[in-house]
């Protein structure tokens, strides 16, 4: 060791480093880092481990420090903004100052942590979980299950001490309708970093005995709105969504619904409301039973009364149609009797008319017969008159003609008119051929008789 060689005390060196660092890093910086462990000490100060990972490997690591008063302030704002206390294993955006302490070495003194960044991270996780569930088709899986008619056997995931559990139990046990529920508690953390895993474990237990249960409820209460971001955890949400029984949640008053609440079969804001929902399911079952009795009574009576009415109508109808039938036949028979009356009356009229007409014919034809004979007789009479007178007349005419002939033939009358009669030997000459020349003939006139001799004889035709 040389004399010139200055020997520093450790304190001198450390002080020098501190001075250098303090000079070099006077500003504050916003640093994004994962807070692995918070390491809060009884004094209230925290000495978190900060690190950065790349591909799962730690690539940077450093200690941090949060003084008690800062921590209280930061945590307060987290609860206000994020509705979660500051928690480990989360990436935070921190306002830091590089500090060096002679005793404790290098660290990042955390002055402030941005709750909005964390809020964003939570939101990111929420979206991430939803996206994955959607991709796996699980987002509606639980909601698509058939809800049991009676959710009477309930697997309860809660904590023994939970105020929410006692609210829930009270609602179910003190129902005034005597509805009977069977509940079995599967204890679990309900918030914070351990909750997700704890609930998943409980669910897997329940699944083992799922035949004994109708629904699963997750109830939490009294813890305020803080510490619910675990319900965005993908694994938990997946377990809930794919659970074979309907999972009902009643975990608190979160402003933003957590994913678990969104994908649960049903979410109630409070355990009390969840209890009332189950009671309502019983009502939904019970009321139709009561109504069924009423409906059956009313409609059975209706059916019976309708049938009574129909029967009555048929009975009245029977009476009516029977009477009508008999009445119709009576009427018909009366009609027939009337037809007999009118028919016979008409027949008699016709027959009487026929009698009158035949009598008239008899009279008429008799009188015609008589008058015909009479006229025949008259004709004969007339003929007799006529013909007998004519016979007389005819004879008269014949006589007159004969008389006239005789008168013409009387020789006296002939001679008076200047004619003469020539005789030969006393006889009238009719044939001159008998006369010869020299024969003596006599010519008789009116007053005289001449005697003469035939001189010549010639034929008149030759002249």
């Amino acid at each position: 060791m040389s004399d010139q060689q200055q020997i520093f005390t450790l304190k001198q060196v450390v002080s020098s480093i501190r001075k250098t660092i303090e000079e070099r890093y006077q500003r504050t910086y916003w640093v994004k880092a994962e807070m692995h462990k918070l390491n809060r000490y009884p004094s209230g100060h925290c000495f978190p481990e900060l690190l950065q990972k790349e591909d799962g490997k730690v690539v940077a690591q450093m200690s941090g420090s949060i003084w008690n008063h800062n921590f209280e302030k930061i945590n307060q704002r987290f609860i206000e903004v994020v509705k979660e206390p500051l928690k480990e294993d989360t990436t935070l955006l921190m306002l830091v100052k590089v500090s060096f302490h002679e005793m404790y070495g290098m660290s990042l003194q955390i002055m402030d942590i941005d709750p909005n960044y964390t809020l964003g991270e939570i939101h990111k996780e929420r979206l991430e979980t939803l996206k994955k569930l959607k991709e796996q088709g699980l987002i509606n899986a639980n909601q698509l299950l058939d809800f049991p008619l009676l959710p009477k056997r309930i697997a309860v995931i809660s904590a023994d001490s939970s105020k929410g559990l006692s609210d829930f139990n009270q609602v179910l046990e003190q129902n005034e309708w005597g509805y009977s529920f069977f509940k079995m508690l599967f204890p679990s953390y309900l918030q914070g970093d351990l909750a997700a895993h704890s609930i998943i474990t409980a669910l897997s237990k329940i699944e083992k005995v799922k035949e004994h249960f109708d629904v699963v409820v997750i109830v939490r209460g009294g813890g305020g709105e803080v510490g619910l971001s675990c319900y965005n955890n993908y694994e938990l949400c997946k377990a809930i969504a794919s659970f074979p029984l309907p999972v009902l949640t009643g975990i608190g008053h979160s402003t933003n619904l957590t994913v678990a609440e969104m994908i649960a079969y049903r979410n109630a804001i409070t355990p009390t409301e969840l209890g009332e929902f189950l009671i309502q399911a019983f009502h939904n079952f019970s009321v139709p039973l009561k109504d069924a009795v009423k409906t059956i009574r009313a409609n059975s009576l209706q059916i019976l009364s309708e049938n009574k009415h129909l029967l009555n109508r048929a009975s009245v109808g029977l009476n009516h149609v029977t009477n009508q039938r008999v009445r119709q036949d009576r009427h018909h028979i009366s009609e027939l009797a009337g037809l007999i009356k009118s028919g016979t009356k008409f027949s008699f009229m016709e027959w009487k008319k026929a009698m009158l007409s035949i009598r008239r014919e008899l009279m008429h034809s008799s009188s015609i017969l008589i008058s015909e004979n009479n006229s025949e007789l008259k004709t004969s009479n007339r003929n007799l008159n006529h013909l007998s007178l004519r016979a007389i007349q005819d004879n008269g005419v014949m006589l007159s003609q004969l008389e006239k002939s005789i008168k013409l033939m009387d020789p006296v009358n002939v001679l008076k008119r200047g004619y003469t009669i020539t005789t030969f030997k006393g006889k009238l000459i009719r044939d001159v051929s008998a006369l010869n020349k020299g024969d003596e003939i006599e010519t008789i006139s009116d007053r005289h008789i001449l005697a003469s001799e035939v001189i010549t004889k010639r034929n008149r035709e030759n002249e």
Binding site: L384, N395, L399, M409, P411
Partner: protein
């Protein structure tokens, strides 16, 4: 003139006389005799006829009454 002679016989004789005259070789004396007979027969017939006519008229008149 004989009333015993019937109209028919008289009429026939008359007819026969007229025939004889018409056909005949009768002397003028005979002729006059025949004509005389014919005239008698005509009278007889006329009288019979008149008688019959009166009878018939009477019967017929009676019938009409």
């Amino acid at each position: 003139m004989s009333d015993k002679l019937k109209y028919t016989e008289a009429f026939e004789e008359l007819q026969s006389i007229v025939n004889d005259i018409e056909e005949g070789e009768i002397t003028v004396d005979e002729l006059s005799k025949k004509v005389k007979r014919a005239s008698e027969l005509i009278k007889i017939c006329k009288s019979k006829l008149t008688e019959t006519e009166e009878d018939v008229n009477e019967i017929l008149k009676e019938l009409e009454e």
